[in-house]
């Protein structure tokens, strides 16, 4: 058996008795529970009971106590969402119904577009198009207007709605053929076309490239002009980009251009119909127009 049982000993530091139990040298004082503990136990218990009376709280078989305040989180959130939608409805209704020209001319609408479009764009589009729509390799820069399908708001809205090479039934479809890999053009012709394309945008060419430009001009006229246009200015109805400007989707350096021609390209932009409301799509189309940059 351990040490002395029932009767404890005196602890000089606190002036209290121990309980008299001892475990391998550990003893316990017989201090009463401090008042403050009991006080807070009572306070929190009163709070809890009060809360149970006011709010949905205890189950009663198939139902539960509804609480005197009659608050229900589901109704509350539904109402809050409705209220917020109503507060915005004046503008969202206008965006949904009016045409782009009158919308773009209205300051109040455009302030709303800038405010709301910024976060909507960042949440839905920036993952691919980059912060502020500045693009990245494979994802077009949306700041300077369109290089593919056209930059008026209605066209952009349509692009957003159906996507490009997407799963949407009305999707925009485009493809840059793999001229080298699929053997449509000889190796030299691909190199020549590549040099010619780079000359179109006025880039500094190497001597070797310079020597290929003339052949490239012919190749281009025969194999490329049908989509990119005789002057290489692109054709928005085919989604074929302008090759004469300095804006590139995949890159304008010799290697990237060669890769585009050799292996082909087919970018994919998801369709947003069903995921964004028609008003949101229109809002984004207007917003993309405000991204700024140099307009062609």
């Amino acid at each position: 058996m351990g040490h002395a049982m029932a009767s404890g000993s005196h602890d000089p530091v606190t002036g209290r008795q121990t309980t008299g139990h001892e475990w391998n040298g550990i003893e316990e004082l017989d201090s009463p529970v401090p008042r403050v503990v009991l006080f807070f136990l009572a306070v929190t218990a009163v709070f809890a009971v009060g809360y149970w009376i006011l709010m949905p709280a205890w189950p009663t078989g198939l139902s539960y106590t509804k609480g005197l305040l009659g608050i229900d989180q589901r109704q509350l959130v539904t109402r809050q969402v409705e209220d917020a939608a109503a507060a915005r409805s004046a503008l969202t209704n206008r965006i949904a119904t009016e045409d782009f020209v009158s919308l773009a001319a209205d300051d109040q609408v455009m302030t709303y577009v800038r405010d709301s479009g910024r976060t909507l764009f960042a949440d839905a589009c920036s993952a691919c198009h980059g912060a502020g729509g500045k693009g990245g390799p494979g994802f077009p820069d949306l700041k300077g207007g369109s290089s593919l399908w056209g930059s008026d708001a209605a066209t952009i809205a349509e692009t957003i709605r159906v996507g490009i090479n997407s799963a949407h039934p009305d999707t925009r479809v485009s493809q840059m053929l793999a001229f080298g890999r699929d053997g449509i053009l000889e190796r030299d012709a691909v190199l020549a076309a590549s040099a010619y394309v780079r000359s179109l945008s006025g880039q500094k060419l190497t001597n070797v490239e310079q020597g290929r430009v003339e052949t490239g001009r012919t190749v281009f006229a025969e194999s490329c002009a049908s989509c990119h246009g005789a002057a290489g200015k692109g054709q928005p109805d085919l989604g074929a980009p302008d090759l004469t400007d300095t804006r590139w989707i995949y890159g304008g350096d010799a290697q990237s251009v060669h890769a585009s021609i050799y292996s082909g390209r087919q970018g994919q932009m998801p369709a947003w119909e069903g995921r964004l409301t028609p008003a949101e799509i229109k809002l984004l189309a207007l917003y993309v127009g405000t991204l700024g940059g140099e307009r062609p």
Partner: protein
């Protein structure tokens, strides 16, 4: 270690390892081409290796009867070392996970196993179950014997628990890296691992009951109430939350039997009580033994211990739904979770207060002794994180804190400040006793560890408080047009500096753990070199020890 087992215990060990190896073989055969098969091989290899270990000493002479007049501490010693190994592994993964949030490309190898989703549970399970669990098992065997003055009932079952538990941890962690998960936080391991843990846990509980039944003290000390609550409740939680049907006997994948929102509720009833009974009750048991021992002071109030124990055990049970505020869970369930969480603050603070008041008369020791300071700081962080928890459980507060790094700050105030600190403090007290040394190899390094751990915790927690509150506010700020002012990615950009700060704090904490591990290993080596301190005559079981049943 094997030599300490009786011949019949060695035979039992071989039998069990044989069964385990056959189990592993069956898994390997049935689960070909599935992660289950890989786990079968792991089980097979480990059990065969252990069987060889037993066989190599099988013919050693029987251990002398004298062993029965000493406590059985070998499993505790091994458990301490295992806990420290897991601490280093788990916290290394913590730092890695943290770095990934700051620099997402830091997967180094660009392999699936190194992705965030797979290494994050290696961190959480590594620290909670690997580090925390081994620390609890190791200390519970020690405390149990000292406070009952009875030797563990036999020598086989403690090993079964310790090794079996670590097998579970290994299967869990390796499974995550292979993509095996139930997708339930803190309950990720799949059905076969869960099943195994149930067996281990039943044996663990049986050890406790058998030892308590043979106790030589009339009363059961508080620490044991807590350890028992930990073992018992974790068993119940684990079983209920993991009820699942495997898609086939040859597949690691299973589906839970709980549908929809009930699954969410069961999961967080489990999740919160894992916090309550794993990360709280078990460690309170630790605190109730090592803190008064080290301070050489009586527990401040026996009565306070009683009301906090029953308050904590009763109220935690209701609190799980505070993890599901504003979800599809019916509001009345949320109300109960919230109100019980608020009431829970009182017994929680009563425990923290009881610990701190116990230090009255020993504050000079706290100042001079880093070991005791670890425990004191742990009690403070326990108070802090429970206050924070009760506050966050209030629905209105939770609407700001939920989904943000504020939760992560709260978690680590508890995990680093409370769980890890109380463990380190207890280990620094326990290691010299276990290896019969006067002190740790280097008290100075204990001091170094203390400051690394404290500064690491403070940096971590402050960084995440800031991060969490900024996140929460950014997510709910509206502009004049009535739409959200910030995009999600902007809130991520705002987090970047805090994630870096957290990584630095984590590195401090990890460095501390490495220092601690080194210090413990060096203390063990000191003991190996024979620098034994005089054996404390009182550290033996009551004379009337009975041989194991």
């Amino acid at each position: 270690m094997v030599a300490g087992l009786t011949v019949s215990e060695r035979q039992l060990a071989l039998l069990v390892l044989g069964l385990l190896a056959s189990g592993g073989l069956a898994m390997a055969a049935a689960g070909r081409g599935d992660p289950l098969g890989a786990h079968g091989f792991i089980v097979l290899i480990i059990s065969v290796a252990l069987a060889f270990l037993v066989l190599s000493r099988y013919h050693d002479p029987e251990p002398s009867q004298e062993r029965l007049s000493e406590y059985y501490d070998d499993p505790t010693r091994v458990g301490i070392v295992l806990a420290m190994i897991w601490a280093v592994i788990g916290m290394f993964f913590g730092v890695w996970v943290s770095a990934l949030l700051a620099w997402p490309e830091l997967t180094f190898v660009d392999q699936a196993w190194a992705s965030f989703g797979r290494i994050r549970p290696v961190h959480t399970s590594g620290v909670i179950f690997g580090f925390g669990g081994n620390a609890l098992i190791a200390t519970s065997f020690h405390v149990l014997q000292r406070t009952t003055r009875a030797r563990l009932p036999d020598q086989f079952s403690p090993w079964f628990v310790l090794i079996g538990y670590n097998l579970f941890c290994i299967v869990a962690a390796s499974g995550y890296l292979m993509g095996v998960t139930q997708s339930k936080e803190y309950a990720e391991p799949e059905w076969y691992a869960d099943f195994w843990l149930v067996i281990v846990w039943v044996v663990y509980f049986a050890i406790y009951i058998r030892t308590l039944m043979r106790r030589k003290e009339p009363h059961i000390y508080v620490a044991n109430w807590y350890y028992m609550a930990f073992i018992l409740v974790v068993a119940v939680l684990h079983i209920v939350n993991n009820l699942a049907l495997p898609i086939s006997a040859g597949s690691a994948k299973s589906y839970t039997i709980w549908p929809g929102v009930q699954d969410a509720m069961v999961q967080w009833w489990y999740g919160h009580n894992a916090v309550a009974f794993f990360l709280t009750a078990g460690f309170l048991g630790m605190m109730y033994y090592y803190l008064p021992k080290r301070a050489e002071r009586p527990i401040f109030s026996y009565r306070l211990s009683i009301i906090s124990f029953w308050g904590i055990t009763f109220m935690y049970m209701w609190a799980g739904s505070h993890h599901l505020h504003y979800t599809a869970l019916p509001q009345w369930v949320q109300t109960l979770g919230m109100t019980f969480s608020v009431m829970l603050l009182v017994p929680s603070w009563a425990s923290a207060g009881n610990a701190l008041a116990t230090l009255n008369g020993a504050w000079h020791k706290v100042r001079d002794d880093a070991t005791l300071r670890f425990m004191m700081v742990a009690a403070v962080f326990y108070g802090l994180s429970t206050f924070e928890g009760s506050f966050m459980a209030i629905r209105a507060v939770n609407s700001l804190s939920h989904y943000t790094d504020w939760t992560v700050a709260h978690v680590h105030a508890g995990a680093l400040g409370w769980v890890a600190m109380i463990t380190f403090g207890s280990f620094y007290a326990l290691v010299p006793w276990m290896w019969k040394q006067e002190r740790m190899y280097s008290p100075k390094l204990v001091e170094v560890h203390f400051w690394l751990a404290l500064s690491g915790t403070i940096i971590y927690v402050f960084a995440m408080w800031n991060a969490g509150i900024i996140q929460g506010l950014m997510w709910r700020t509206y502009n004049d047009s009535g739409t959200l002012a910030y995009s999600f990615i902007e809130s991520m950009v705002a987090m970047h500096p805090y994630y870096i700060a957290r990584t630095v704090g984590g590195l401090f904490f990890l460095a501390g753990a490495v220092v601690g591990f080194y210090n413990i290993i060096m203390t063990i080596r000191m003991a190996r070199r024979g620098a034994a301190a005089p054996d404390s005559a009182s550290d033996v079981p009551a004379v009337a020890v009975q041989p194991g049943e």
